[in-house]
C-alpha cells in the first residue's frame, strides 16, 4: 500500500460570476501519494457529498495532460509546483504531509469565473476564429508529398502546435496577456510553407483580436514558466516580428489603425 499524507485544502468557492466568492477550508486526510491531484479532489468531493455538503466544481476531462480542460492555481502557481505538467498529471508525491494547499481558479479578467474553480476561456476561441487557420477547403488539397517541409521547420511548427489552450499563460501573467497562446498558434502556421499565403493577414487579425480581449505583454516571461507544454517565449518574438513586417508590407493597415 502506498504512503498516505494528510493535507488541508483552502478551496475558492464562488456561486457564479456575480458572487464575490470566498475560501473554504477542508481537511484532506489519508491521501495516497500515487493519486493524481484531481483524484485527490475527487476524494474530497466524495467526502463532502457523503456529509451532505455540495461538492466544488472544477474543470477537467482527459486527465492525460492533452485536452487543456483542467486549470487551477495551486499555491499561487498555474498547474501547481511541477514544471511542464498540467494539473491532471501532477501527483500527490509532490506534496508533503501536513501541508496546506490553496486552490484557486485562473485569475484573469478575460476568463470570468463560471462557478468555484471553473472559468470561461472562450476568448481563446475568438482569437482562433479571427485567423488561426489555413484556409483549405475540403477536397481541394494536392498530394501531401508535393509540399516539402524541411524537418527543422516541421519540428518548430510542432513545438508551437503542442499548445493545449489551457490558459495557464494568461493566468500566470501579471497583465493577463495572451501572447504565448496567440504566438504559439501564429508560429505553428506561419513557419509552415502551407501557411505562407495568409501569413501576414493572419498575424494582424489574431494580434488585433488578442489585444481587444486580453491585457498586453510586458515581457515578464511568467507564461513560459507556467506552460504545461513548456512553450517558448521565442514564439512571441516571432509573432511580433511578423506583425511588424505585416504592417510594413501593407502600409494601408497603418493608416487604418484607430
Amino acid at each position: 500500500m502506498a504512503t498516505t499524507i494528510n493535507l488541508t485544502l483552502r478551496v475558492w468557492r464562488q456561486e457564479g460570476p456575480n458572487d464575490p466568492g470566498r475560501f473554504e477550508t477542508y481537511p484532506a486526510p489519508g491521501i495516497s501519494e500515487d493519486m493524481s491531484f484531481l483524484e485527490m479532489l475527487d476524494v474530497v468531493n466524495e467526502r463532502l457529498n457523503a456529509q451532505g455538503s455540495e461538492p466544488f466544481t472544477f474543470d477537467h476531462d482527459c486527465r492525460e495532460g492533452i485536452c487543456g480542460t483542467c486549470s487551477l492555481m495551486i499555491d499561487g502557481k498555474a498547474h501547481g509546483p511541477q514544471q511542464g505538467t498540467a494539473t491532471c498529471q501532477l501527483h500527490m508525491r509532490k506534496f508533503t504531509d501536513g501541508q496546506t494547499v490553496t486552490i484557486e481558479p485562473w485569475r484573469a479578467a478575460s476568463f470570468p469565473v463560471v462557478r468555484d474553480l471553473m472559468v470561461d476561456r472562450s476568448a481563446f476561441d475568438r482569437i482562433v476564429e479571427s485567423g488561426g487557420f489555413i484556409s483549405a477547403p475540403t477536397g481541394a488539397a494536392r498530394d501531401a508529398n508535393n509540399t516539402l517541409v524541411p524537418k527543422p521547420v516541421s519540428d518548430a511548427a510542432m513545438d508551437a502546435a503542442a499548445c493545449i489552450g489551457c490558459g495557464a499563460c494568461v493566468a500566470a501573467c501579471p497583465n493577463g496577456a495572451a501572447q504565448l497562446f496567440t504566438s504559439a498558434k501564429v508560429a505553428h502556421l506561419n513557419v509552415l510553407p502551407q501557411g505562407q499565403p495568409e501569413r501576414y493577414s493572419r498575424v494582424i487579425a489574431m494580434v488585433d483580436t488578442m489585444e481587444e480581449l486580453f491585457g498586453s505583454c510586458t515581457n515578464h516571461g511568467e507564461c513560459q514558466e507556467a506552460c504545461p507544454k513548456s512553450i517558448s517565449v521565442d514564439f512571441i518574438a516571432l509573432m511580433n516580428r511578423d506583425y511588424r513586417r505585416a504592417l510594413r508590407k501593407n502600409p494601408r493597415l497603418l493608416s487604418q489603425r484607430d
Binding site: 476524494v43 457529498n49 485536452c67 462557478r115 476561441d125 488561426g132 489555413i134 501531401a144
Partner: protein, 640 residues
C-alpha cells in the same frame, strides 16, 4: 432482408462503388444550400470535420459541444497516428491492402463496401490535413514519415510525435473556427444533448441542457448529425476522458435508432496499470511503442526479482515466440488477451502484479537514447509522471484497458441511422471496424466520415426537403421531450438518497469489467444481467445529487450519463450473450481454438446484430443484417 435494415450498399465492382454512388447521389445547388439547416452534435474529429465541411459548402450549421471549446473533444488524446494508403514507402501498400487488412483485423464482422470506401478516402485525408498545416513528422528531405502499427506489415501510419490526435483535431477545429468566424456555423458550447425529437418518423431536432444555466432548450433542423463518440466509460475505468458518455446515442436509440453490435468493445494492450482503488481513469500509452518496445514476462510464475535482475534466458517474449511474423505488432485483441492469460497464470509484474513489461533496452542500445527520445519522448515523460519510474532505465509496466467501442448506432452506407434524418459519424456509429479496430484507424474513420462521406451522402436526404421549413420547436413533440427531460433531471435531485453518482458508476463498471470485459462466458453474462437491474434500482432509490439544476452541477450532469450507461450495460450483456462465438474484441470463453484463439462461427454469426428499444432495457428486439463477403476470404485470423 430485415425491412428496417437496408444497408443501401451500391452494387458493381467494389473499387467503383463509391464513385458510382457519388455520381448518382442527388446534388444541392450551391445557392440552395443556405436554405438547409443541419445540427451537428459533437466537435471531435468527426463532428468538427463534418461541421466545417458542411459550413464551407454553404449549409447553415449549428454545432453543439458540452465542452467549453470544440478543441477539448477526446479525439485530442489519440497518440499514435492515422493510416493512409499512400504507399509512400513503396512497401506494397494499396487501397486494396488497407481494405483487406481492416476487414481481416475486424475479424470479418464489418461491411465490405464501407471499409473499402474508408480505405479509398484515406489518402485524401492525409492530403487534406497536410494542407491545413497539421505538422506531421517529416524526414530530412521534407517528405512525410511513416511508422507501422499493429495488424499490418506495411508502414502506412502518419503521425505527429505522440500527439497525432491533438494535431488532427486542431486542424479540424481550426477549419471549424474559420467557418464560425465567417458566420456559416453557429457554435453552442457547454450545451449537452439530452434527447432526440422524432416527428412523423423523421428526426426533427434535439433537446439540450445548458450546463451553465441549466436551461432546457429545443433546436430543430432539416437533418441532425451525431458525432458523439463511444461508450467505453460504461466500464468506469477506461482510457476515455471523464465526460465521455453514451447519452446522445442512447437517447437516439430510445427514439428508434437501432444500436448495433454493442458488445464489440476494444481492450487496448498498452495502458499504465491501475495503482489503487481511487484511480479515476486509465492512461493509454500509444501502440506505436510496440514498434520498438519488446513485451515480456518472467518465465517463472511469481518471480519477484526486479526486471534488470532477470537474465535474458529467464524472460518470456511471448508475442515474439507465439507470433513470429507479427511479433509485438499483433492486433490489439490478440496482444491484450495474451497478457491476461499470463497474468492469470501468475506471471504479472509490478506491486499489484497487474502488468507485463514493455522493454526498450534493446532499441536504446541499437538506436541510441536520442532516437528513442525523439520518437516517444512525450510518452516516456508521461509514464514517468504517473508512475514515478524512468522507462529509459527500467522497462515500462503495461496492462490492457478498455479503449474504444466498435459497436454504436446502426447506419447504412449513407451513415444514416434507422431514423430518417438522423446521421451518426465516427465512433458513435458501428460501421467500419467490425469486431476489432486496427490501430491508427479511429482517426482515419472519424475524418473520413466528416470530411468526405457525410457531405456527399446527406444530400440524398436533404434534396426532397427543398422549400420545407424545419419542424418548429413549438411543436408538441418538442414540448413533450422538454418536459420529460426536465422531469428526469428534477428526479435525480429529488431522490435525496445516500450514495454518490460515482459510487454507482464504479459498481456498474466492476460488474461490466468482470463479466463483459476481456473474456465473457454465458455464466458470467447471466450473472451480470441478474446483478445490473438490482444496482440500477438502487441507483433510482438511493442516489444523492446535491445542489440545484439552475447552475453548474457536475454531479447532476453525471447522473444522467450514468443512468444511460445502466441501460446500455444491459444491452451489451444481452448482445454478448446472444453472440455464441468469439470474434475480435468479443471473446467468449466457451468458443476458442485449441491454441486459445478466438473461434468464429461464420455460419451463424457473420452478421450485424442491431437492437431495437422495446421500452424494457432487458428485452430489446433483435434485427439481423447479414454480412456478405465477395472480396475478402474468411479465414481463421493468423498472425503467426
Amino acid at each position: 432482408m430485415d425491412p428496417l435494415l437496408d444497408p443501401k450498399v451500391p452494387s458493381g465492382p467494389i473499387e467503383d462503388r463509391w464513385s458510382d454512388y457519388k455520381f448518382h447521389a442527388k446534388l444541392v445547388n450551391p445557392s440552395n444550400r443556405r436554405k438547409y439547416e443541419v445540427i451537428v452534435v459533437g466537435s471531435g474529429l468527426a463532428g468538427a470535420s463534418a461541421a466545417a465541411t458542411l459550413g464551407e459548402l454553404g449549409y447553415k450549421v449549428k454545432v453543439f459541444t458540452f465542452h467549453d471549446s470544440p478543441r477539448r473533444a477526446h479525439s485530442i488524446a489519440a497518440q499514435g497516428g492515422i493510416n493512409g494508403a499512400k504507399n509512400y514507402r513503396g512497401d506494397g501498400d494499396s487501397v486494396y491492402r488497407l481494405f483487406y487488412d481492416t476487414v481481416k483485423g475486424g475479424d470479418y464482422r464489418s461491411r465490405e463496401s464501407n471499409v473499402y470506401r474508408l480505405a479509398e478516402v484515406s489518402g485524401d485525408i492525409i492530403d487534406q490535413c497536410a494542407a491545413q498545416g497539421v505538422p506531421f513528422a517529416r524526414e530530412y528531405g521534407g517528405l512525410l514519415d511513416n511508422r507501422s502499427f499493429g495488424g499490418a506489415q506495411v508502414a502506412r501510419t502518419f503521425y505527429a510525435r505522440g500527439q497525432t490526435g491533438q494535431q488532427l483535431l486542431l486542424g479540424a477545429y481550426q477549419a471549424l473556427a474559420r467557418q464560425i468566424g465567417l458566420g456559416n456555423v453557429t457554435l453552442y458550447s457547454r450545451i449537452e444533448l439530452l434527447d432526440v425529437v422524432v416527428v412523423d418518423g423523421t428526426c426533427a431536432g434535439i433537446v439540450t441542457r445548458d450546463l451553465v444555466t441549466g436551461q432546457i432548450e429545443s433546436h430543430s433542423a432539416h437533418a441532425t448529425v451525431l458525432a458523439t463518440g463511444g461508450y467505453s466509460n460504461v466500464f468506469y475505468l477506461s482510457t476515455n476522458a471523464m465526460a465521455c458518455n453514451v447519452t446522445a446515442a442512447w437517447r437516439a436509440h430510445r427514439r428508434g435508432a437501432l444500436f448495433a453490435n454493442p458488445c464489440f468493445t476494444q481492450i487496448h494492450p498498452t495502458c499504465i496499470p491501475a495503482s489503487d482503488e481511487f484511480q479515476s481513469k486509465l492512461t493509454l500509452m500509444s501502440e506505436s511503442l510496440r514498434n520498438d518496445g519488446r513485451i515480456w514476462v518472467p518465465k517463472e510464475a511469481g518471480d519477484k526479482r526486479a526486471p534488470g535482475q532477470i537474465p535474458e534466458a529467464e524472460r518470456d517474449y511471448y508475442l515474439e515466440r507465439k507470433y513470429p511474423s507479427f511479433g509485438n505488432l499483433v492486433p490489439r485483441d490478440v496482444a491484450s488477451r495474451n497478457a491476461k492469460t499470463l497474468m492469470d497464470k501468475g506471471h504479472g509484474v509490478g506491486p499489484l502484479e497487474n502488468g507485463v513489461y514493455l522493454d526498450f533496452s534493446e532499441a536504446i542500445n541499437r538506436l541510441g537514447k536520442k532516437v528513442i527520445e525523439e520518437r516517444y519522448g512525450n510518452l516516456f515523460e508521461m509514464y514517468e509522471r504517473i508512475t514515478g519510474e524512468d522507462p529509459y532505465t527500467q522497462p515500462m509496466r503495461i496492462y490492457p484497458a478498455v479503449h474504444y467501442t466498435m459497436g454504436g448506432l446502426w447506419v447504412d452506407y449513407e451513415l444514416q441511422t434507422t431514423v430518417p434524418g438522423l446521421f451518426a459519424l465516427g465512433e458513435a456509429n458501428f460501421s467500419d471496424h467490425g469486431a476489432n479496430r486496427l490501430g491508427a484507424s479511429a482517426l482515419m474513420q472519424g475524418l473520413a466520415d466528416g470530411y468526405f462521406v457525410l457531405p456527399s451522402t446527406i444530400t440524398n436526404y436533404l434534396v426532397p426537403q427543398l422549400g420545407k421549413a424545419p419542424v418548429p420547436t413549438t411543436h408538441d413533440a418538442f414540448r413533450a421531450a422538454e418536459i420529460e427531460v426536465n422531469e428526469r433531471y428534477r428526479h435525480y435531485l429529488d431522490i435525496k438518497g445516500t450514495r454518490s453518482v460515482d459510487y454507482f458508476h464504479r459498481e456498474l463498471g466492476k460488474i461490466m469489467w468482470d463479466y463483459c470485459g476481456m473474456e465473457r462466458t454465458r455464466e458470467g453474462l447471466e450473472k451480470a444481467l441478474a446483478e445490473i437491474p438490482g444496482l440500477y434500482a438502487e441507483f433510482q432509490k438511493d442516489l444523492r445529487v446535491l445542489g440545484d439544476g439552475e447552475s453548474v452541477n457536475q454531479s447532476l450532469e453525471k447522473a444522467g450519463r450514468v443512468d444511460d450507461f445502466f441501460q446500455l450495460a444491459m444491452l451489451m450483456c444481452r448482445d454478448a450473450l446472444e453472440r455464441n462465438e468469439s470474434c475480435g474484441g468479443h471473446f467468449r470463453g466457451e468458443f476458442q481454438t485449441d491454441e486459445g484463439e478466438a473461434q468464429r462461427d461464420d455460419e451463424h454469426y457473420a452478421h450485424v446484430s442491431a437492437w431495437e428499444w422495446s421500452g424494457d432495457p432487458l428485452a430489446p428486439a433483435l434485427h439481423i443484417e447479414p454480412l456478405e463477403f465477395e472480396y475478402v476470404k474468411l479465414t481463421q485470423r493468423s498472425y503467426k
